[in-house]
Amino acid sequence: MSKVLIETKKLKKYFKTPYGKLHAVDGIDLIIKEGTTLGIVGESGCGKSTLARTIIRLYKPTDGQIIFDGKDISKLSEPQLKETRKDMQMIFQDPYSSINPRMSVSQLIAEPIIINNIVQGKNNINQKVSQLMETVGLASRLKNAYPHELDGGRRQRIGVARALAVNPKFIICDEPVSALDVSIQAQILNLLMDLQKQFNLTYMFITHDMSVVKHISDEIMVMHLGECVEMAKTEKIFIKPIHPYSQALLSSIPVADLKMKDKPEIVLMGEITSPIEPMPGCRFRSRCQIGFACPGLDDNKLFEVESNHFVSCRNRVFNHYNISKKRQKTIVIRSAIINGAVSNIVIEGGKVRLIVNQETEFSKDLSMFEYEGRSVKYGELDELGRVLEHTVKSEICLNEEANLLVYQQNLLEGVFIKGQWFNSEQIQYKSAIEEQKKEFKTSQYY
């Protein structure tokens, strides 16, 4: 597995407005592995570009962490950032306004080389510029041309060359092809994919065009009003989107194929909730088909329904696990780490259900449940063999070290540590656990 290049933890960016705080990016967790592409889709105003600019630290994050190449860059000062910024570059949307019209092509490409002192000496710089122009497919005769002489596709190639000039590891492409015609768009997409292979680049690709994002991304994150509503591998999200917003988004793409003309289309009604001081809970409710009858109104956390497929809609998660409507009202779902794998825990009335992901080897945990003589049984397994049930009147919290803590009436009952159950009497370090308990109550979601 390739290493993680960039990671954000609960990243937040709020803007001050006269009416209150605008939640542009609200608690985004994402991981991009080296050499892969994360596509970010969502409608205009959902915070895609703000997220990109916050990650690259053009904005100071309000809260949360950005870990780039193992280093937290969220609190670095401007001079400290300069070094890091060499590794992260951005390609902007509009090739007409993002490059200086008074500079020639070679000056434009040389600018980042000179500023960041990549190579010294006029000859070396010239050589590097020629090399870059060749890489991005600009003919060398255009060296002294000015941007207005070039068409959109070529201008965007300049943008790509400028980004590549400092040998970055990570490039954010902010709608790089939406200002271009389809025939030119395909050229730029091919170029970006070739460069990725050649230099092992990592991309974060922002777009509102789903067919483009499908073509280029390994993983896709669907954003809605500053939040991630669904994140999964590209194939998964296109075959079976789970969140109602992703479904609507996917179904409303016009497809240039008449066979698809009659595909069912979900037309969203209603208007978008304001991102200024939004109400807690699900922000999609005003446009959702389920509407205010949804049981998940107060809960908009991400659940992992399948391995690496995160969805924030509680209702859809319930449906995914075939939980009836009546029961949905009394249920609490939490995602947590059990034995090193992320799982969902469903707490329903007095019963605790563990929904373990397919990939998790859970047989050991199971036997532990029974072995300890507690009233823990194999529950009815669902058709995939993933649902276990046991009867503990308790609330469950988790952390990585002690896999599973079970509370009853606010008292600690016991702890699972590495798959082994310890009663509260057996635990020597009670006070430490009590402290942990407080902490866990606030961090229910990993």
């Binding site: 015609d181 395909a186 793409i253 497809v255 008449l258």
Partner: protein
């Protein structure tokens, strides 16, 4: 059925001191009643120029060098302003691309729609009747009439486009020209607006010219398609036939379809159309597409191809002519002196 709109051999040149831009080079178009025609092409292909020519709203630099535009057997080129005023809005309405700039920011949306109704009011309606009519129009585009008192900046992009559609519909025109009506909108909002336009079109039995660069939108809402390249229509036909990959097509049409990433099948590499769009100030001899065409032959660089029928498709291409000799020659577009 008779043709509602007929454009014949239309040439438009933008003349400036430095250069002549050959925007339209012999356009032939017919539109029947109740039909939706999609015009597809790249930036600078001349799509909007067609729309503006039909509305007779071309900029002062534009010169119509030849051709005719007949609407309901009435010649629009050379018609007086007074005559045009009767056609614009009442018979042909236009929806512009950018809803953010086509509304007046200092007037409430209700007042703007009302203005439109009053301007084209032939029956001397009373204030009450006009109010009723405005309310009806707002209902038709699914905006609550209470929002009439609001200003454009209170509306989202999709809602603004609805207001623009409301204004276009105000006088129940027979033909709507929609110039990229949803390009500035998000996909989810786009599908709302397209659905609304389709519903209204069916309800009012209006014809429509849909100008777009998105083949997906064409597939969704058009009956007939015209593919434009560098001021010429290179291919026209019924939607089903233009989108049928088993039929022979103009190399540009084929290229366009290949350049779109497919949502439903995995492809590793896109096939772009090589080169860049032809410069309308300096069009090549022969076929305008010859510089980018992968089927280009010697004859393409010298002689301008003529429009031939292949089945129901009308295609302007030398390659197809050679490949399928059975095509019936269509004389209408020969002998054109392009760069006059």
């Amino acid at each position: 059925m008779s043709n509602l709109l007929e454009i014949k051999d239309l040439h438009v040149v933008y003349k400036t001191r430095e250069e002549h831009v050959f925007a339209l080079n012999g356009i032939h178009l017919e539109l029947q009643k109740g039909e939706t025609l999609g015009i597809v092409g790249e930036t600078g292909a001349g799509k909007t120029t067609i729309a503006l020519a039909v509305m007779q709203l071309l900029a002062r630099t534009a010169v119509i060098t030849s051709g005719s535009i007949q609407y309901d057997s009435q010649e629009l080129i050379g018609a007086s302003q007074r005559e045009l005023q009767k056609v614009r809005g009442r018979k042909i309405a236009m929806i512009f691309q950018d809803p953010m700039t086509s509304l007046n920011p200092t007037m409430t949306v209700g007042a703007q729609v009302e203005e439109m109704v009053r301007a084209h009011d032939l029956e001397n309606l009373s204030d009450l009747e006009i109010d009723k009519k405005v309310r009806k129009i707002f209902k038709a585009v699914e905006i609550h009439h209470r929002r009439r008192k609001e200003f454009p900046h209170n509306f989202s992009g999709g809602m603004k486009q609805r207001v623009v559609i409301a204004m276009a519909l105000a006088c129940s025109p027979e033909l709507i020209i929609a110039d990229e009506p949803t390009t500035a909108l998000d996909v989810t909002v786009q599908s709302q607006v397209l659905r609304l336009m389709n519903d209204l079109k069916v309800k009012l039995n209006t014809s429509m010219i849909m100008i777009t660069h998105d083949l997906g939108i064409v597939a969704k809402s058009c009956d007939r398609v015209a593919i434009m390249y560098a001021g010429e229509i290179v291919e026209t036909g019924k939607l089903e036939e233009v989108f049928d990959k088993s039929l022979a097509h103009h190399p540009y049409t084929t290229g366009l379809f290949k350049a779109i990433p497919d949502l439903y099948s995995k492809c590793d590499r896109l096939v772009p159309i090589q080169g860049v769009a032809s410069d309308p100030t300096d069009l090549p001899d022969g076929c305008n597409f010859s510089l980018r065409c992968n089927q280009c032959m010697d004859i393409c660089r010298e002689v301008d191809p003529i429009v031939n029928s292949y089945g129901n498709l009308k295609i302007k291409c030398h390659y197809l002519e050679q490949e399928y000799k059975g095509g019936n020659c269509d004389e209408q577009s020969t002998n054109r002196n392009k760069k006059t």
